[in-house]
């Protein structure tokens, strides 16, 4: 199950595990990503809390957790290859995995079609 937030994060849920990244729209708005700061394993993230920091040539931006949970994995490959966020935002460019704290938090997120419509509205 893939869901999107209005802040342009995505969350892909597989059982109790939620993998989090940023959308293709988000990476295109950021431009070339040159640095990613990832959280510590074991960190407890609340929904809406800062999960990671992504820096483009121009600016730093926060990646917010679209759902709460405990960090179980981070994509360490981004440290040496931050451009993967641009090249494959929904795949190799993922940021963190958390154990889902409350599946009900998924209810307020958008599916792919709703998110595509949301982005189209932004122009």
């Amino acid at each position: 199950m893939l869901r999107f937030s209005k802040d342009h994060e995505w969350v892909r849920v597989d059982g109790n595990t939620a993998r989090i990244g940023i959308s293709d729209y988000a990476q295109s708005q950021l431009g070339d990503v040159v640095f990613v700061e990832l959280p510590e394993i074991g960190k407890v993230l609340k929904k809406g809390a800062e999960a990671a920091v992504v820096e483009s040539v121009k600016a730093a931006s926060e990646v917010y957790a679209p759902v709460g949970g405990t960090v179980t994995a981070v994509n360490a490959a981004l440290v040496d290859d931050p451009a993967a966020v641009n090249a494959d935002p929904l795949g190799a460019g993922w940021f963190v995995e958390v154990t889902l704290a409350d599946a009900a938090e998924l209810d307020g997120l958008m599916d792919e079609a709703a998110y595509a419509a949301f982005v189209a509205e932004l122009g």
Binding site: V34, F35, E55
Partner: protein
């Protein structure tokens, strides 16, 4: 999003749209921050070949009248009287406190002085000129002219193909040329650290000239994003960030812009403070900062000394594509300004290890002067 309807546009606006630029508000204009290639690619292209920048938002001003050079010297600490015809000089408008109102380029031409000032300050600069210069000096704003910059190691080969005589220009020299049928005023100068040209052309001819230049295989369009990363690598100041009304030329490590005659004679705004700082040393200095890690430190980052005490602030910081690592410039207390001094940069609650580094970060590759 800001309201785009109030923004000014340059003569190349339609071309930017056609080229797929991402347009952003900058200094009251809607300007291209990047094209589809992206900032990293645009930056590297400029270092490797030639980039075309629209900098028409900058102010172009003529000063006309006998004694315009000595009159302008009352506003800047640079040498204007000593400028030969066709020579270009970088100087600063200072205020009575020795702060920097703006930085600018001045060229002596037959019959006038030609000034290029920053877009963000041009309204204030023009008002300052009109209020401060004697009535015999006319301040003429060239609102009907575009400004294109062609920058990079292949810029001379490209422009020389269209106008061979431009190759006679040395660094910081300027003259009139016809390029692709258009009358141009061209200086060999720029804001990237590379060889290159800045081309003033009538708005009516700007798009045709830009298209002619972009048709050359070495040339790609470059946005303001890469312009900023290129100038940071080149150690060049951005007014409103690295220099402002609260920084003096001496603190800004721009003492080289004040020649011996002006130091001896004074007679520019803030001379008392500026000359005192020249004699006694400034309390702080603009320095380059190299970071050990991969995380950039942005403008406003607090700078700490080895003991963890605050010693300054970052004024420009980002990723340097040519170095493939982050760099910054900022002001530190003079005691911490020596090359190699270990510093800490306070970013998101962590202290990033860094040290004072030589400017420029990327060696200038200007034409011979």
């Amino acid at each position: 999003m800001s309201d785009a309807s109030n923004l000014l546009t340059t003569a190349l606006h339609a071309l930017h749209v056609e080229l797929g630029a991402r347009l952003v508000p900058f200094a009251g204009y809607e300007m291209p921050v990047q094209y589809p290639a992206g900032i990293l690619t645009e930056h590297r292209h400029t270092r490797a070949a030639a980039g075309l920048f629209d900098v028409s938002h900058m102010g172009q001003v003529r000063l006309v009248g006998a004694g315009a050079d000595s009159a302008l010297e009352a506003l800047v600490p640079g040498d204007v009287q000593g400028l030969a015809t066709g020579a270009v000089r970088y100087t600063l408008f200072t205020n009575d406190g020795g702060g920097i109102l703006d930085d600018l380029m001045v060229t002596r031409r037959d019959g006038d002085l030609f000034l290029v000032v920053n877009a963000s300050n041009k309204v204030a600069d023009i008002a300052h000129l009109m209020a401060s210069l004697p009535s015999g000096i006319a301040v003429e704003v060239l609102g009907d002219r575009a400004l294109l910059a062609l920058q990079g190691p292949q810029a001379a080969a490209v422009l020389g193909r269209l106008a061979p005589d431009v190759l006679s220009l040395g660094f910081m020299q300027a003259a009139a040329f016809v390029v692709a049928g258009a009358d141009c005023w061209i200086s060999r100068s720029g804001y990237t650290g590379e060889d290159g040209f800045e081309i003033s052309v009538a708005n009516a001819n700007a798009e045709g000239l830009a298209r002619r230049l972009l048709a050359e295989p070495e040339v790609a369009p470059i946005g303001l994003g890469a312009r900023d990363s290129l100038r940071l690598e080149a150690g060049l100041c951005l007014h409103g960030h690295d220099i402002d009304e609260g920084t003096t030329p001496i603190e800004a490590s721009l003492a080289w812009t004040i020649p011996a005659r002006r130091r001896a004679e004074g007679g520019f705004p803030g001379a008392t403070r500026i000359l005192a700082q020249l004699a006694e040393g400034p309390p702080r200095r603009r320095v380059g900062i190299a970071l050990d890690g991969r995380a950039p430190a942005r403008e406003g980052t607090e700078i700490l000394d080895a003991a963890g005490s605050p010693v300054g602030i970052v004024t420009s910081g980002g990723f340097a594509p040519s170095l493939d690592k982050p760099v910054a410039m900022g002001y530190v207390a003079t005691a911490a300004a020596t090359l190699g001094t270990p510093l800490g940069l306070s970013v998101r609650g962590k202290v990033l290890p860094a040290q004072v580094a030589r400017l420029p970060f990327h060696a200038h590759r200007y034409a011979k002067s």
